[in-house]
């Protein structure tokens, strides 16, 4: 069991997510980005601001990156980018991922 904080998040976001319980499936990310040749779509870019767990950020190359450790499995990024094919999304393996105490 790990209470892992995502490295990408702002300090405030870290504090927030610190309360949550996760079981991280090391080496098996359930969200991956497939960068498209024409650059990142506005939808993908918006995720750096609106992912509720702060999993997305703009990397040094200027392209959007994801670290899904703090992910709350809401599905927003999957829905927003379904048309552009930039995000591959699945539920974590059974038992892994977020574990809500209160929900």
């Amino acid at each position: 069991m790990t209470d892992k904080k995502p490295e990408t998040a702002s300090p405030k976001m870290e504090e927030r997510l610190y309360q949550n319980r996760y079981l991280v499936d090391e080496g098996n990310p359930h969200v991956t980005i497939h960068p498209q040749p024409g650059g990142d779509s506005p939808a993908l870019q918006s995720l750096t601001q609106i992912c509720p767990a702060g999993c997305y950020r703009t990397g040094e190359t200027g392209r959007v990156e994801v670290v899904a450790d703090g992910c709350m499995e809401c599905g927003s990024c999957r829905i927003l980018c379904q048309a552009t094919g930039e995000i591959e999304w699945s539920y974590p393996r059974g038992g892994y991922g977020i574990l809500f105490k209160f929900g």
Binding site: K12, M13, R16, L17, Q19, N20, L23, P42, A43, S46, Q49, I50, P52, A53, G54, M72, E73, C74, G75, S76, R78, I79, L80, Q82, S90, Y91, P92, R93, G94, G95, G97, I98, L99, F100, K101, F102, G103
Partner: protein, 435 residues
């Protein structure tokens, strides 16, 4: 474990639990699968539990269910940046022997519900994600594929109770992808306070009395959305939700919206000194009647959020989930008793039962509302703000006569909305959608 069941239920939220419970009680051989460590570990809700839907499934649920408070008062707030105009309804009649609404914590409630399901005889496997459906060449669903080794399991019928982000139905091509303007993204925090503090702050005499507050206006920063604040026993659930499409367009961070709501002068004193112990996010299906996918096919049917059964206007969802789960189970039981196969044709019985229940009747009644709100942001920004300005002007005694104040409030409203014609049209549109 046998590898053939009478029914497999995918998901152990309210819809799946209701379906599995009713079928198991009737003696069916039911397997239920949930991807969480325990039922509820992935689930999020406000949360208000509407007793009626559960009572029809487990009449004595009050004896053992983990209920927080029963609701004796509901407040509605129209929020502006620094004020709110509110209406509230409180009645001692809600202090009845069998209260009508309760606040709950979903992780605990779902765990309890699942215990009842297992006691009724269903088999539950957790920590297992259903990845796909097994279909025959003719497209009939005959089982599920899980992420366990050799994880294929067969059944006469598969009940998809997998929630709003239902990947199984989508992957199997049974239902289309969700649209970003058909779901709200909600974020919520649970704030702990001593039990007496909760009671004092909300003016509650009885130990289990509770208050819920529904909020419209500046809470959504111009997006289509609402906020809420519910009293639990020793905590407060506070959250906001807006259309996912609106978040993507405005790029407002959901947690920033929540922080703003928490620091609003009307809210901050209620939370003062509390300890935040959980932050969660989840989608809510808000597309209404027109977003409902195909609900039945050969060997499968859909219940709960996976079918978009949420009445966003009245913030009801878990009761539609439980009711659709129960009706699905009753359908399956009835078909078996009549010796009929769960084909698309025979499952029309489920669609008929739904159409005859409040689930479809309510969704149909408010069919036009999601569309109306999406196209008319003034209901979320201009009107609440103008109302609050008018209230302040009338209440501030400053030597100006009341007739002049009234006239100014009317001019202000006209200015804010850009003409009387628009105000009248809004009223008309609103009344028609509500009808």
């Amino acid at each position: 474990m046998s590898d053939h069941f009478d029914a497999i239920v995918v998901g152990a939220g309210p819809s799946g639990n209701a379906a599995a419970y009713v079928m198991a009680k009737a003696g069916l051989n039911v397997l239920q699968i949930d991807r969480g460590e325990y039922p509820g570990s992935k689930n999020v809700q406000g949360a208000i539990l509407y007793a009626d839907a559960l009572e029809r499934i487990i009449p004595d649920f009050r004896d053992s269910a983990p209920l927080e408070r029963h609701v004796i008062e509901q407040r509605f707030w129209m929020l502006s940046e620094r004020s709110h105009t509110g209406a509230q309804y409180r009645s001692d009649d809600f202090n009845e022997e069998k209260p009508n609404r309760y606040t709950i914590l979903r992780a605990q409630f779902d765990k309890w519900f699942s215990r009842q399901v297992r006691a009724a005889g269903a088999i539950l496997i957790t920590e297992t994600t259903v990845k796909d459906l097994i279909k025959t060449e003719s497209g009939k669903v005959i089982g599920v594929v899980t992420d366990r080794d050799g994880g294929k399991i067969h059944a006469d019928i598969v009940v998809l109770a997998e929630g709003v982000n239902g990947m199984v139905g989508q992957r199997a091509g049974l239902r289309p992808e969700i649209k970003a303007n058909h779901v709200a993204l909600a974020v919520k925090e649970t704030h702990f306070l001593p039990e007496e503090t909760v009671r004092e702050r909300f003016n509650l005499a009885g130990e289990d009395d509770g208050v819920v507050i529904e909020v419209l206006g500046s809470v959504s920063s111009g997006m289509v959305g609402t906020g809420f604040l519910y009293t639990n026993k020793e905590s407060i659930s506070i959250g906001v939700g807006c259309l996912l499409a609106d978040f993507a367009e405005t790029r407002i961070a959901p947690y920033a919206l929540l922080d703003k709501f928490k620091s609003h002068p009307s809210v901050a004193p209620l939370l003062k000194g509390s300890e935040m112990k959980e932050y969660v996010a989840h989608l809510i299906p808000e597309g209404g009647y027109d977003a409902i996918p195909r609900l039945t096919g050969d060997g499968w049917l859909i219940v709960g959020d996976a079918g978009q059964f949420v009445n966003a206007v009245h913030r009801e969802g878990s009761n539609l989930a439980m009711t659709s789960g129960r009706l699905a189970a009753e359908t399956i039981i009835q078909l078996r008793a009549e010796g009929k196969q769960p084909t698309e044709e025979n499952l029309k019985l489920y669609r008929d039962k739904l159409a005859d229940s409040f689930v479809m009747k309510d969704l149909k009644k408010y069919r036009k509302v999601p569309h109306l709100l999406e196209k008319n942001r003034q209901f979320f920004n201009i009107y609440p703000a103008a109302l609050n300005r008018a209230m302040q002007a009338m209440l501030r005694v400053d030597g100006t006569d009341k007739r002049s104040k009234e006239a100014e409030a009317m001019r202000d409203l006209k200015r804010a909305r850009g003409g009387w014609w628009r105000v009248a049209t809004d009223l008309f549109k609103f009344a028609r959608a509500w009808r």
